[in-house]
Amino acid sequence: MTSDAELIGRSLAGDAEAFMEVICRHEGAVGAYLARRVGREAAEDLLGDVWMAAFESRRTYDRSFAGARPWLFGVALNRLRRYWRSRPAEDLVPDVTSLATGWDPWPAVDERVDTQAVLRAALAKLRPEEREVLTLVAWEDLTVANAARVLGMPAGTARRLLHQARIALRNAPEVAALLTDFNSVKESL
């Protein structure tokens, strides 16, 4: 299969359809990335802007990387930052993950909801760059190196941030309690 890098190269040579092919390959992942951070409604509004921003900036794509997904996540993140900056102050919440709406809590008004609330609160306490690396790896299935590409930082920095984030979470009392619960239940089974 033709690599994303080759398709972007063709796009720069005037083949518009080649860029559409790149988009079609990654739209599901980028759409989900946006939805997890701002909810479905806003994500649907932002997706077209992300594609246009990617198209406009495709000359900056480093074609030594065959896959464009981390780059597209980076473009999406920039668009998200603009979106968050444009929000009225009263709409801002400290934890961006809690903005992701669309899930229905009612079938699971139980400890699952409690667990999610605890985790969101713990994520909110992380430094933003730690949270970004952590969620890119945990939610978007990126390697740490690719998460670093998204965030425009050296891989070593991303590894350090991920390590810090994991330690911070593990040491948070409420998360530690959850881990103990989960693992003790598993051991008793």
């Binding site: 559409m20 599901g28 759409g31 994500a43 669309g102 939610w139």
Partner: protein, 376 residues
């Protein structure tokens, strides 16, 4: 294996997926931007006077206008052609018609030759095999197939009496019929395109094209612009563009060049294609409609016909060239049965290769009594 903090965070991964139409809308936004010279710009809404209100149901059942789905109903530009359409409506609506260009041969009212005899031949076959239709309504089940989400299904019931019921499943159709929730009143243009197709089955082709063209509000304006001499068109265009400057600026639209004869002819033929395909999908249960649609489509030079096979059945792939959509956008390909003219699918994209959206159609005849009873 123990659960760790990464496993816990993964539990927050779920979020409501984007809807398929959102992906398509985003792609169209990009295609539009790519079609424009210079930096990509987001297409802006140019409201068309008299545009019908957007409703779900039939809105989803209808052909995607320039790949924009229901948004085309309110004139969201997908390329300069569509924006020009919006401007043209405003332009001519406030202008006095001027003298026709010498010769007037550009007018779609002029005698239109058949350019695709295969379609006329199939139309004749349909006519020859026509017989009394079973049932008293046509059920068109439309499935939007497209990455990344599973297809969305719409059930559309068109009764022979002119009523329309739309829902997302069988139960919804039954409920709509039981509640007499006839939505046809909101979609008079749907009735008009079907009526135009029926006329085309036996009527004069030039008149049939005209009726198909006039089934939607913007079409007449293209004709009137086309009837002007180049100088008169330029003068009028520039005058109206100047008047519209504030509106265009507010909508972040961009100055548009005076449309050429070729561009206007393409716009006219695209309207005819668009309306004809809508007639085909909405009136597919009626052989007279299929026959008429094929006859009208046979007059459009930018529509090509290729033999194909779908599910081991012989089919015809009718392709509207990108030029018809103003260029820069992918072709639209409608696949029909080579024996009956029944619509099978519509694809926005390159035939046999990449596609950006695909809609499949299943058409059957039913009786309202069976639908009410949920037996269909």
């Amino acid at each position: 294996m123990n659960v760790d903090e990464m496993d816990l965070v993964s539990q927050l991964k779920d979020a409501a997926p984007l809807r398929p139409e959102a992906y398509e809308r985003a792609r169209t936004t990009l295609r539009t931007a790519m079609a424009e010279p210079g930096p990509a710009r987001r297409p802006e809404l140019v409201a068309m006077p008299g545009a019908a209100p957007v409703r779900e149901g039939l809105a989803r059942a209808r052909n995607r206008r320039r790949g924009m789905g229901t948004l085309g109903k309110v004139g969201i530009g997908a390329g300069i052609g569509a924006v020009a359409a919006g401007v043209a409506v405003a332009l001519v609506a406030t202008s006095t018609p001027q003298s026709a260009a010498p010769g007037g041969s550009a007018s779609p009212r002029a005698k239109v030759p058949v350019v695709n005899s295969q379609l006329v031949t199939l139309a004749a076959v349909i006519k020859a095999s026509s017989r009394n239709l079973p049932g008293n309504a046509s059920l068109v089940i439309q499935t939007d197939v497209g990455a990344p989400s599973p297809g969305n299904v719409t059930y559309n019931l068109f009764t022979d009496g002119g009523a329309y019921y739309g829902a997302n499943n069988k139960q919804g159709i039954t409920a709509a019929v039981l509640k007499h929730d006839n939505q046809a009143g909101h979609w008079l243009d749907a009735l008009q395109v079907v009526a135009a197709a029926r006329y085309a089955a036996t009527g004069d082709l030039t008149t049939a094209r005209q009726r198909m063209l006039n089934a939607t509000s913007a079409a007449e304006q293209f004709e009137r612009l086309l009837s002007l001499s180049p100088a008169a068109r330029k003068k009028l265009w520039e005058k109206e563009m100047a008047k519209s400057r504030a509106i265009l600026k507010a909508k972040h639209a961009w100055p548009l060049p005076v449309p050429t004869d070729k561009a206007l002819r393409n716009d006219i033929n695209y309207e005819i294609w668009y309306n004809s395909i809508n007639a085909l999908t909405e009136g597919a249960g009626n052989p007279q409609v299929r026959e008429g649609v094929l006859r009208v489509l046979s007059t459009i030079p930018e529509v090509t016909v290729a033999h194909a096979t779908t599910g081991r059945q012989p089919t015809l792939a009718l392709t509207a060239a990108p030029a018809l959509m103003g260029g820069g956008l992918p072709a639209q390909v409608v696949t029909i049965s080579a024996r009956t003219g029944m619509p099978i699918s519509m694809v926005n994209g390159t035939p046999g290769q990449r596609y950006y959206s695909k809609t499949t159609y299943r058409v059957s005849r039913v009786t309202l009594a069976h639908v009410r009873a949920g037996r269909f």
